[in-house]
C-alpha cells in the first residue's frame, strides 16, 4: 500500500529507533507482573540452608548477554546476600571479562574469597566439560582463576563433584548450556538447576521447569525486571522493560498494518 511506495523500510527502522529511544530516555514505569518461574527461582535461593554450596556455570557471551544481563546481576546480588558458598566457572571464552564487569555492581559484603566463594577459569568443551566437572572438578580445574591449587582453598576442601552442591545456576545462557546442565547435573547427579536465560531459549526450557528439573528461571529482559522487583533492588531490568513494551507494541502495530495491506490486496484481486 502507501507504506511500500514511500519506502516502508525507512519508516519502520525510524519507528523502531524512536520506540526504543523514547522510553530509554524517559521511562514510563509500567507495572511488571512477576512470573511463577522467576518467583520459583527466588524462593529456592531464599530457602537454601546456611552453608549450602551453589555452583554457577557462567555462560553469558558478549553478543546476547544484554538480554539476560539484568537478571544475571540481580541473581548474583541475591546469592551474595545469602549465607551460601559459591563456586563459579566459565563455559564461554569471554565469560571472565563480562563477569568481572558485572561484579562491579554486586556487593559481596563480608564474604571472603576462598572461604565463601571461589572463581574457576574458563574451560572449553561445553557439555562434555560440564559432565567432567560433575565427576571430578580437580580433573578439569587443578587451580582457581588466580592460580591457587584447589586443595589449598578452604572452601574447596570438601567439594569435588556434583553431589557436593545443593544447586547449580546457569547464568546468561542463550543457547544450550541450561539444557545440557539438566542432562549432566540434574538427571545424572540429582542437583537442582536454576538459571537466567535469554527470551529465545526460555520457551524451549519450560518443559524442564514443568517437570521440576529446573527449579526456576528468568525470561530475558523482563525476567531481569521481575527479579529486581523480588530482591527489591530496581536497576536496568525494570528500566528496559519499558523499552520492551514500546517495541513490542510497535511490532504488533506493524503486523496489523501488514495484514490489513495483505487482506486489502487479496480483496482487490478477488
Amino acid at each position: 500500500m502507501a507504506l511500500a511506495k514511500i519506502g516502508y523500510r525507512k519508516i519502520i527502522y525510524l519507528s523502531v529507533l524512536l520506540s526504543a529511544l523514547i522510553p530509554m530516555l524517559n521511562p514510563f514505569g509500567l507495572p511488571v507482573e512477576v512470573s511463577t518461574q522467576s518467583k520459583d527461582l527466588y524462593n529456592y535461593i531464599e530457602n537454601l540452608p546456611p552453608g549450602a554450596n551453589v555452583a554457577i556455570n557462567f555462560a553469558g557471551s558478549a553478543a546476547m548477554f544484554p538480554d539476560s544481563q539484568a537478571a544475571t546481576r540481580a541473581v548474583l546480588k541475591h546469592l551474595f546476600s545469602r549465607p551460601v558458598h559459591i563456586v563459579l566457572w566459565h563455559s564461554v571464552t569471554d565469560g571472565p571479562l563480562i563477569f568481572g564487569n558485572e561484579m562491579k555492581y554486586v556487593n559481596v559484603g563480608n564474604k571472603q574469597y576462598g572461604v565463601d566463594y571461589v572463581y574457576l577459569p574458563y574451560s572449553g568443551g561445553g557439555e562434555s566439560t560440564l559432565a567432567a566437572i560433575a565427576e571430578n572438578i580437580r580433573g578439569v580445574y587443578p587451580t582457581d582463576e588466580r592460580g591457587t591449587m584447589l586443595d589449598d582453598i578452604p572452601l574447596m576442601i570438601d567439594i569435588n563433584r556434583a553431589e557436593d552442591f545443593d544447586l547449580i545456576i546457569v547464568l546468561g545462557d542463550c543457547g544450550g548450556a541450561t539444557e545440557y546442565t539438566v542432562r549432566q547435573w540434574t538427571i545424572a547427579h540429582g542437583v537442582p538447576e536454576g538459571g537466567t536465560v535469554c527470551s529465545i531459549t526460555y520457551p524451549d526450557l519450560l518443559p524442564f521447569w514443568k517437570t521440576g528439573a529446573i527449579v526456576g528461571m528468568t525470561n530475558g529482559v523482563r525476567g531481569g525486571g521481575e527479579y529486581e522487583l523480588l530482591i527489591k533492588s530496581p536497576g536496568p531490568g525494570l528500566k528496559n522493560t519499558d523499552v520492551l513494551s514500546s517495541v513490542h507494541l510497535l511490532y504488533i502495530v506493524i503486523i496489523i498494518i501488514g495484514n490489513v495491506e495483505f487482506l486489502w490486496k487479496k480483496g482487490g484481486k478477488s
Binding site: 507504506l3 516502508y8 523500510r9 519502520i12 527502522y13 523502531v16 529507533l17 526504543a20 509500567l30 507495572p31 511488571v32 507482573e33 512470573s35 558478549a62 553478543a63 546476547m64 548477554f65 544484554p66 569471554d94 571479562l97 564487569n101 574451560s123 572449553g124 568443551g125 561445553g126 562434555s128 566439560t129 559432565a131 567432567a132 565427576e135 571430578n136 580433573g139 578439569v140 527470551s199 520457551p203 524451549d204 519450560l206 518443559p207 514443568k210 525470561n219 523482563r222 525486571g225 522493560t241 519499558d242 520492551l244 513494551s245 514500546s246 517495541v247 513490542h248 507494541l249 510497535l250 511490532y251 504488533i252 506493524i254 503486523i255 498494518i257 501488514g258 495484514n259 495483505f262 487482506l263
Partner: protein
C-alpha cells in the same frame, strides 16, 4: 600408516569404544566403567576441546594471511582482513604475555569488541520489524492461529499488555506453559529419537563419518 588412517574403520572403532564406555557408565555402572568414563570425559574431552579453541583461532588467522596474500583479493577485503588479523594478534599478544587483567586488554575488549558484538546483535531488531511487516501474515487458518498466538505472547511478555488488559498475561502464560510446552516436548522427544537413529546409522557404518573419502 597413512593408508590405515584414511580407512573408515579407525574412526568407527574410536566411535564404538567411546559410545560403549559412555553407555556402560549410564546403564551398567561399576568402577571400571566409571574410571574409563572419567578418563574419556575428564582427560581427553577437556584437552581436545581446549586445543580446539587454540586450533580454531590459528585457523582464522591462517585464513586471513592467505586472503591477504592472494593476488585476486580486492583491496578493501585485504584491508578488512589485515585489520582483523592485526586486532587478533594484538589481543593474543597482550592476553598471553600480560594477562586478561591488563588495562589495555580490558579496554580493547570493553570499548571495541563488546560494543561491536552487541551492535551486530541489536541490528536484528530492525530486520525483525521489517520481516514482521512482510512475512507475518494470515495467509491461511494455521498461519492466522500462529499470528494470534504470537501477538498474545508478545502482549504477555511486554508489561504494557498487562496495563492494557489484565487478561493478556494469563492467556499468554497459558499459550507458553501449555500449548508451547506440549509442542516443545514433542520436538524434544522427536529430536532425541532422531539423534539415536543417527547414532545407530553411524555405528553400523551407514552414515558418512570423519576420515571417509
Amino acid at each position: 600408516m597413512a593408508e590405515i588412517l584414511k580407512r573408515k574403520e579407525l574412526p568407527l572403532l574410536i566411535i564404538w569404544l567411546s559410545v560403549l564406555i559412555v553407555f556402560a557408565d549410564y546403564f551398567i555402572g561399576g568402577s571400571i566403567f566409571k574410571s574409563a568414563f572419567q578418563t574419556l570425559t575428564v582427560d581427553w574431552t577437556v584437552i581436545i576441546a581446549n586445543w580446539a579453541v587454540i586450533v580454531g583461532g590459528m585457523a582464522i588467522m591462517q585464513r586471513s594471511i592467505v586472503l591477504i596474500q592472494r593476488p585476486s583479493t580486492a583491496t578493501i577485503d585485504r584491508i578488512m582482513q589485515g585489520w582483523q588479523f592485526g586486532v587478533a594478534t594484538l589481543l593474543i599478544v597482550i592476553g598471553v604475555f600480560f594477562g586478561i587483567e591488563n588495562p589495555t586488554y580490558n579496554w580493547l575488549y570493553t570499548y571495541i569488541l563488546l560494543p561491536s558484538w552487541r551492535t551486530v546483535y541489536t541490528i536484528i531488531i530492525f530486520f525483525m520489524a521489517t520481516a514482521a511487516y512482510r512475512a507475518f501474515r494470515a495467509r491461511n487458518p494455521p498461519s492466522a492461529v500462529m499470528l494470534v498466538c504470537g501477538i498474545l505472547v508478545l502482549l504477555r511478555n511486554a508489561p504494557v499488555g498487562h496495563t492494557i488488559w489484565s487478561g493478556f498475561y494469563p492467556i499468554g502464560t497459558w499459550i507458553l506453559d501449555v500449548v508451547n510446552l506440549s509442542g516443545g516436548r514433542a520436538i524434544m522427544i522427536g529430536s532425541m529419537i532422531g539423534a539415536l537413529s543417527l547414532l545407530i546409522k553411524i555405528l553400523i557404518g551407514k552414515e558418512k563419518i570423519l576420515g571417509e573419502e
